[in-house]
């Protein structure tokens, strides 16, 4: 591995513009917390643009489990291996990997404290910590309760648990899916999940039903989902929107009861997705300014509260860009370019960023929202006209093509980030 990096550095050194930077010797130290879609993309891009930088990575999980495509595991389209990736490929890009999870961060000194007590310092820090789940927002819900009523909103063991519960459920069972108020990770994600659970139940347990208890009234790609549900899963999905007291207020894992202000439902399988906030490390450090999500400069993604600290992905407030893995990866490469410019003494240049969120409502029924976003000093906004979702009433060939593209996108991006 070291050879590859040396070769790459040597080839860059041959370029006239890169030579002065390399001549300085050891470059600045950058600490990266979180090697998901945002962090991995940042690392790859920074390594390419500023090879002199020393990168230390802090990642709490031994393997990466992707939230994108995890609904396919739950619906039985593929097994958990499809969404599970080693960090070896990323680690072999000439980064130092700290051992263990980050348990504390001091924005003033940019010191990250690990659970073993080690302290990692850097000239710059990139936080891509994802979300934290606000269990306390639902009475009776907790990490322990989630072992009986999985959220499966952070992929991994929870994903497998929800799949097993569906497989073990008897035909005629009731599956409850509880959806929180926005903002949350992956706006169309809960509805894709409902679709793929319905796909599984329709084939394997057709007397079963899905009750959706939704804190939201309208939702992402609503017309496209409802079009598919009417065509493929009639009578299988019953949704209670927020205006009809759909929001879940309490759960009891002992009796599998899920309660709204209006009703109590006993579930055979309960998928309880709680409200969300920025990842705990950012929250505990006060980088959300008390509002749950972290404000950042829209061009550099530097925290507006802590100089030298950059925050990307679901944890940050990114204007009109949704909280998606696709968005986080785009922000990761843009943030790396901004930091490389800063290190070189230049101002970061605004970019155009893309988000294309695919949803699979069945294995061969895909659709998407696709937008280009402009970074400006005022924020990140979708460029209009242009952008938007797959049109309603699209034919089967279009949905089948979008499903193939979704699969291609996932395999292409994940192989670039962790391959």
């Amino acid at each position: 591995m070291k050879m590859q990096r040396r070769t790459f550095v040597a080839s860059l050194a041959a370029l006239p513009l890169a030579a002065p930077a390399l001549a300085r010797g050891a470059g600045p130290r950058v600490t990266v917390v979180g090697a998901g879609y945002g962090g991995a993309s940042f690392i790859r891009t920074l390594r390419r643009l500023a090879p002199e930088v020393e990168i230390t990575v802090i990642e709490q999980t031994p393997r990466f489990h992707s939230c994108p495509f995890s609904n396919g595991v739950i619906g039985g389209l593929w097994d958990g291996d499809r969404i599970s990736f080693e960090y070896d490929g990323l680690a072999s890009t000439g980064t130092r990997w700290a051992s263990g999870a980050a348990v504390g961060f001091d924005p003033a000194t940019r010191e990250v404290t690990l659970e073993g007590g080690e302290v990692v310092t850097g000239d710059y820090v990139l936080l891509s910590p994802g979300i934290s789940l606000n269990f306390a927002a639902i009475d009776g819900y907790s990490p322990e309760a989630a072992e009986a009523m999985p959220h499966a909103w952070q992929a991994g063991s929870q994903t497998g648990l929800l799949r097993r519960q569906l497989v073990e459920m008897e035909d005629g069972g009731t599956v409850v899916v509880a959806i929180p108020r926005p903002p949350f990770r992956c706006p169309p994600g809960p509805y894709e999940r409902i679709s793929l659970i319905a796909h599984y139940l329709k084939a394997a347990k057709p007397a079963s039903k899905i009750i959706v208890l939704d804190a939201q009234d309208g939702f992402s790609k609503q017309g496209l989902f409802e079009e598919c549900w009417a065509a493929l899963y009639p009578g299988l999905i019953e949704r209670i929107p927020g205006a009809e007291s759909g929001e879940v207020e309490a759960v009891d894992p002992a009796t599998m009861r899920v309660s709204t202000a209006f009703d109590d439902i006993t579930a055979d399988v309960a998928n309880v997705i709680p409200p969300q906030r920025a990842g705990a490390l950012a929250l505990d450090a006060g980088l959300d300014g008390g509002i749950g999500w972290c404000p950042v400069d829209p061009v550099s993604f530097e925290s507006t509260l802590a100089p030298g600290v950059f925050i990307i992905g679901d944890a940050a407030i990114m204007g009109e860009m949704p909280k998606s893995g696709f968005s986080a990866a785009q922000q990761g490469s843009a943030c790396a370019a901004a930091l490389a410019a800063r290190i070189a003494g230049d101002d970061p240049a605004p970019r155009k960023l893309i988000n294309t969120c695919y949803s699979l409502a069945a294995p061969d029924w895909g659709f998407s929202v696709a937008d280009v976003y402009a970074q400006t000093a005022d924020g990140i906004a979708a460029i209009r006209p242009g952008g938007g979702t797959t049109p309603l009433g699209a034919d089967a060939d279009t949905h089948a093509a979008e499903a193939r593209y979704a699969n291609s996108w996932f395999d292409t991006l994940t192989s670039q980030l962790w391959g």
């Binding site: 970019r351 893309i354 696709a370 952008g387 938007g388 593209y405 291609s408 996108w409 292409t412």
Partner: protein, 103 residues
Amino acid sequence: MSGHHRLAIATLAVALGPLSALAGPGDADGAALAVACFSCHGPEGRGGGEIPALAGRDAGEIARQLSGYADGSIPGTIMPRLAPSYTGAEVTALADWFAEVAP
């Protein structure tokens, strides 16, 4: 941007090829724009399964395709929604950048 500056950058951009993060023709930065495409079209646009490769294709062909998506004359799934958000100069810069990448 002054004429001298533009000429210097153009010269460097030719010298450095696609690795460069410098501006290409028409002031649009093809390299910076192209990064956003890699998530689907593969690293440096070298292809991603069902999604076509862009690397090494004729610049005029790429530009015509993007313009066709933007004005609705070429049908598609994703690209008719993305293409209208790029200016003519950006389309040219993207096409030129991908054309220079070895497939």
